[in-house]
């Protein structure tokens, strides 16, 4: 227990992530996530059911307006299945990103009083979104059974892959925005707008193939969520997404992750002074 701990505190000197330290504090990931999940549904009559109801109602609305009224193609899937598979992944991303971006500011009082690796906060706030994802996933499986949707075995690989890309996308942008938000509160107002714009730029409710200009497809592929949603839907549609588009999207996800984490790390020392 009482292993001798010797460490030096110095100015500057941004070491990269100290994995050892993160590992020592691993329980805090759990406690932060656990706390946020508990708080989220405290004093609600329906409790965890909300995690299911929100995407369900969204699906119904989109099905009615886009599926029925506008008759948007859905890659041979029943439109509810098409839109729900997209929303499932998208909600994970948007909730995770929003939570992560605001997480540092929301926990400012803790940051100012206690030291721990700061990265734990945005990561845990994304894990909270993962909890909602799992709840909604149960509904998704029920929906597939209802429509007797054929499913490729590749789902075993592609679903987790889609999920991991989603987490990477949310963490990259989220940690970047979280750090910026500490310094410039302007980002608090930018985030909802950004999420809204990304929603329409990502093939959640319509397929990219609908776009008439191929160039536009390349622009949309810059969103890391493009790859996540396409891969997640692949076992359902059986359609292979364009490899170039997929690569662009994956690369953009990784680049954002590096930028986000590096920026976060470089500014984290001063969170307590600005928060």
């Amino acid at each position: 227990m009482a292993e001798p701990v010797e460490y030096v505190i110095e100015s500057g000197g941004h070491k990269l992530f100290q994995w050892k330290e993160l590992w020592r504090y691993r329980e805090l990931f759990y406690f932060f996530t656990w706390r946020d999940v508990k708080i989220k549904y405290k004093q609600t009559a329906l409790g965890f059911l909300w995690a299911v109801l929100q995407p369900l109602f969204m699906m119904l609305i989109f099905t009615f307006f886009f599926g029925k009224a506008l008759n948007i193609p859905s890659q041979n899937l029943p439109y509810p299945v098409y839109v729900f598979s997209g929303l499932l992944v998208w909600n994970m991303f948007s909730t995770g990103l929003t939570n992560a971006s605001n997480s540092m500011v929301n926990n400012a009082s803790i940051i100012k009083k206690i030291y721990f690796p700061r990265l734990i906060i945005p990561v845990s706030s994304i894990l909270v979104a993962l909890f909602d994802f799992l709840m909604a996933f149960v509904l998704f499986v029920m929906l597939l059974l209802y429509y007797q949707q054929p499913l490729s075995w590749m789902a075993i690989i592609l679903w987790p892959a889609g999920l991991i890309i989603t987490v990477i996308a949310a963490l990259g942008m989220g940690s970047w925005l979280a750090a910026l938000n500490v310094k410039y509160r302007d980002f608090r107002y930018v985030i909802p707008f950004l999420v809204q714009v990304l929603f329409f730029l990502t093939p959640v409710i319509y397929p990219v193939s609908m776009l008439k200009y191929p160039l536009l497809q390349y622009v949309l592929a810059c969103s890391p969520m493009y790859a996540a949603i396409e891969l997640f839907r692949m076992p359902l549609t059986g359609l292979y997404p364009d490899t170039t588009l997929l690569t662009i999207s994956l690369a953009s996800g990784l680049i954002l992750l590096v930028i986000g984490l590096v920026y976060f790390k470089r500014t984290e020392d001063f969170f307590a002074d600005f928060a």
């Binding site: 009482a2 110095e10 329980e27 706390r35 100012k112 310094k183 410039y184 001063f270």
Partner: protein, 409 residues
């Protein structure tokens, strides 16, 4: 023996931005970039070349005025904010208690808050599990464990927060002013717990404005002023230096000397044992009141009276002296020194009343509410009640006798 904490030339600079709000906004940044004038930013050194070291098991008090840099020092030591220059070598697990109940959430239950707060403070889950009953016992809120914190009274929240903190077992414990809250009884319990901690060989760094508490808990102290260490050493010496550093002159000088009076009080001031003029005294220090007066006439049955007024202006006690048998020179100032024995007055603020009078007939010259002094506690038996409970103006040494009735039937 290697020191457990070595602080070398620590400085911390903050930039103060004038004319702007608490935090930066992009607009301000952009506007500033467009302006050609220099940013109205001022550097402020919260800590300036601070060096000291602490040995294992030592308890060090950090004292100083508001804004002296105490809290910044603790923040740097607990890794919350990095120093601008300098380095710190630490050879032990550090837990810092800059606030009690950090991370307490009103929607979580007492039990949930114990776990979250404990884990934030650096406890492992199994540690909390094993100490859980003790923590609950110490806090005395077992009935409400599964009630959301928002339904707790503020006192109960505080107890719970203290209880978690009390069971931390780091090698170095950093505490900032947290004991300033809480009721007397609970505070005593915490103080006892902290004494146990320091006796068990752990190192404590303690910041408080309650000097009595620092005196009781710490052996050594360091005094900070404007980011620099003024002095460090044995706790009572440092407390003395500190209290004398802001001692204001309280000398009373009679303004308009009315030569028509038979007796005139010219000057009154309080001195310590070393004949230095001061307005700050430790409770166990003698207080010397020096009165200079002039007699323009020598009248029979003249008395000199000195009284002490408490903070509410009520008389605490008086001392009266007939001057008939004192040899006085007319029109020459006479100096009188009156010594109030040590441990007479309890910590607090007092003023004096001085009068030259003929008892029950007339006052020749009277000065009231003059010469304010303040008395601080540097470790009396009442220190636990400091700022909590008013236990009177004077110390009285009473005789206590106990008798047990033995049933001899």
């Amino acid at each position: 023996m290697k020191p457990i904490l070595e602080v070398q030339n620590i400085s911390k600079k903050y930039r103060i931005q004038h004319l702007s709000g608490g935090y930066l906004s992009l607009r301000e940044r952009m506007v500033n970039a467009l302006k050609f004038e220099k940013n109205n930013v001022e550097d402020f050194w919260a800590l300036n070349d601070v060096s000291f070291s602490v040995n294992p098991g030592e308890s060090v008090g950090i004292i100083g005025r508001n804004g002296a840099g105490k809290s910044t020092l603790l923040k740097v030591l607990s890794k919350i904010t990095p120093p601008t220059s300098g380095s710190i070598v630490s050879r032990g697990r550090v837990a810092s208690l800059l606030e009690v109940g950090t991370g307490f959430h009103p929607e979580l239950t007492g039990r949930e808050n114990i776990y979250f707060n404990g884990s934030l403070l650096g406890m492992k889950r199994f540690e909390i599990d094993s100490k859980f009953d003790e923590i609950v016992d110490f806090s005395g809120v077992e009935k409400f464990l599964d009630t959301p914190l928002k339904h707790f009274s503020s006192g109960m929240q505080l107890r719970l927060a203290f209880a978690v903190a009390a069971f931390l077992e780091p090698e170095i414990l950093i505490i900032d002013e947290v004991l300033a809250v809480g009721d007397a009884e609970f505070q005593k319990k915490c103080l006892g717990k902290m004494e146990d901690v320091s006796k068990s060989g752990r190192t404590i760094l303690f910041v408080s404005h309650q000097l009595g508490m620092v005196g009781q808990l710490c052996k050594n102290a360091l005094l900070l002023d404007r980011g620099k260490i003024v002095c460090q050493g044995e706790v009572n010496e440092i407390i003395n230096v500190y209290t004398n550093s802001y001692a204001t002159s309280n000398t009373f000088v009679s303004k308009a000397i009315d030569m028509g009076k038979s007796y005139i009080i010219q000057q009154v001031q309080s001195l310590n044992n070393f004949s230095q003029v001061t307005s700050n005294f430790a409770h166990n220090e003698e207080i010397v009141l020096e009165i200079v007066f002039l007699a323009t006439q020598l009248l029979r049955n003249t008395h000199l009276m000195v009284s002490v007024n408490n903070r509410n202006g009520q008389r605490v006690f008086s001392s009266d002296k007939a001057l008939d048998h004192v040899k006085l020179e007319m029109n020459l100032p006479t100096t009188v020194r009156i010594t109030i024995p040590k441990t007479t007055l309890t910590p607090g603020n007092y003023t004096f009343f001085v009068a030259l009078h003929c008892p029950n007939t007339m006052g020749y010259d009277v000065a009231d509410n003059i010469c304010p002094i303040s008395i601080y506690d540097n470790g009396s038996e009442f220190v636990q009640y400091e700022n909590k409970w008013f236990y009177g103006d004077v110390y009285v040494s009473c005789k206590w006798e106990f008798k047990s009735e033995i049933n001899a039937s």
